[in-house]
Amino acid sequence: MRRLVVPVALFAALALVPRLAVDVPYVFQYGLNSPGTLQLLALCLVFAGLALSYDLLFGFTGLLSFGHALYFAIGVYVAAIAMTRWHWGFWESVGFTALVGLVVATVLSAVSLRVTGIAFAMVTLAFAQAGSILAFKNPYKWTGGEEGFGVDYHQLPAWTVGILNTKHLYWIALVYAALVFAIVQWAVSSSPGHLWQAIRENELRVQVLGMRPYLYKLMSCVLASFLATAGGVVYLLLLGGATTEVTTANFTLTLLLMVVIGGAGTRWGAMLGGFLYTYANQRLGDLSSSHAVESLPAVISTPLQQPLFVLGVLFILVVFFVPGGLVQLFRQRRPKTVQRLQEAVQR
């Protein structure tokens, strides 16, 4: 019970944010309950949830996947296509997206899990690349090719559309993050969850004990992918459109960065990493055109204008000096992240 106190308090506090007409200088450009800030926070929450879904695979089950972006992209694209190209209603589209996400996740995971370690990573990369190529190719003019397309907002529920309703989108994102947290916590402490962690530690031993790791890994993959697809739908609501950026290998790599910076396989690490990374990515973009940065000598200000440069350097520094991720700074225990990742790749 005690373990619930912190999360509940935290999410409850976050739920109050749209009611707070407060200014936080430097941290946010506008007031806390302004649409701009709420949009940013909502984005951070979506990625917090998405990063945690990735960590389920990676930090908890020890599966290094380079294709997680695919399921997120399915969430974004399928829902967008259903509403905009086929003119379906919102709830039908969402339901259909959930179904597609589930089926694709099950089929692809079943196939990918036939191999392990590096081979598994490469197969997931391959499938995701295939999806990305498909999106770029623009079959039947559905995906909008390289530029993507905007969703037909007539199909979206009225209370999600328009600047004044940003706070509703914020709450949706918050609910998403909270749900992912709850589901992952529950899954990890359930008996299949214990098996996932056992598999991560020593798959051979699990086999020797008579259990079939394959089924459990499949469970983990499908759950993680489904959570990602759900995140994709929320993302679509937030951004109002689909772009190919979410289908790239680069995107999955940024998830990896989020999880490692935060601390893989820990309770809060992935969410923290996802939240902070997204925040930094946005704000660095704002900051780079600010007066303070532009007045710095070109050698320093030029690289700073690329958020990915700063985040990449931060990532490298974390790997070198704080391998357990930022959460390690809050604990005294030895970082387990590294061990976990090692195990993931050594199969």
Partner: protein, 293 residues
């Protein structure tokens, strides 16, 4: 027939570039167990060094300009790769996964840096005229740069094989790919071999960078990343750590990509390569050569 010939030669040309990148990746993984995601960065660094040097040599003749720039480019890529190993990889010796993560970070950092300094747009590279011309064989008009790519790749393949078979470090690397611990148990400091292998990888990637600049006639921040993904696929299909396997796989991938793009539909070539990887891995997880470091 002439189309088929053109496709085949182009496919081989592409395969040549994939091989150049993949050979370094394969050696690095085979010897060190490191998946070097920064390999694309070596290529990018080399390519931009080429463009930058050229732009500074304004009033020299085109051929000389290109040649000098190419040499500078190779030197820069090699030194860069060696420095990466010394400063980023070696300190993490024994911590495999952190080594891989660092290369991921480096790849992103280099791309971002290049974009920051020179922007996202492609920059044109001045290419010697005869490379831009075509040769006609069997009715097919084949751009000359394809020949350069194929010949270069063959030369590099030969050079690598000679290096591995005839030199002491080559011996150490061959042994190390099979059993690194035993090499240290013979009193050999493998870490020097690591730096060397990274430098070789950098050199090969640099060559690929020069060639890709000729092939595309431009440099841009995304070339490295795009080519490296295919190089990874080639390495895995060919069998990690096997040079011959990598060469075979590079040829197969280059050809499949060209044929599928033309005979099926544009864009399907890339897809088929990806499907090929999936198929190979599921049927024969050890790749074509059967080795799996």
């Amino acid at each position: 027939m002439s189309t088929f010939l053109l496709l085949s030669i182009t496919g081989l040309g592409l395969g040549a570039m994939y091989f150049l990148i993949a050979s370094g990746l394969s050696l690095i993984y085979g010897l060190m167990g490191v998946l070097n995601f920064a390999h694309g960065a070596f290529l990018t660094v080399g390519a931009y060094a080429l463009w930058f040097t050229e732009s500074k040599l304004g009033d020299v003749s085109l051929n000389a300009r290109f040649l000098i720039a190419a040499i500078v480019s190779l030197a820069v890529a090699t030194v860069f790769a060696a420095l990466v190993e010394l400063l980023l990889i070696r300190p993490l010796y024994g911590r495999h996964i952190e080594q891989v993560l660092v290369t991921v970070g480096l790849a992103l950092v280099v791309t971002a840096l290049v974009t920051a300094i020179w922007g996202n747009d492609a920059r044109v590279v001045a290419v010697p005229t005869w490379a831009g011309n075509t040769t006609t064989i069997g009715g097919a008009h084949i751009p000359n740069d394809r020949w350069i790519e194929i010949i270069t790749a063959l030369v590099v393949l030969l050079g690598l094989e000679l290096f591995l078979k005839r030199t002491r470090y080559g011996l150490i690397i061959r042994a190390g790919v099979e059993n690194r611990a035993m090499v240290t148990a013979l009193g050999i400091d493998v870490r020097r071999a690591f730096t060397l292998v990274f430098a070789i990888g950098g050199l090969a990637a640099g060559i690929a960078g020069v060639l890709s600049s000729v092939y595309f006639t431009t440099v841009d921040p995304q070339h490295g990343t795009a080519l490296v993904i295919f190089a990874f696929i080639v390495v895995v299909i060919g069998g990690l750590g096997s040079l011959r396997g990598t060469a075979m796989a590079a040829v197969v991938v280059g050809l499949v990509q060209q044929y599928a793009n033309y005979y099926a539909s544009s864009g399907l070539g890339d897809l088929s390569v990806v499907l090929l990887l999936g198929a190979v891995l599921l049927v024969r997880p050890r790749g074509l050569s059967g080795s799996f470091a």
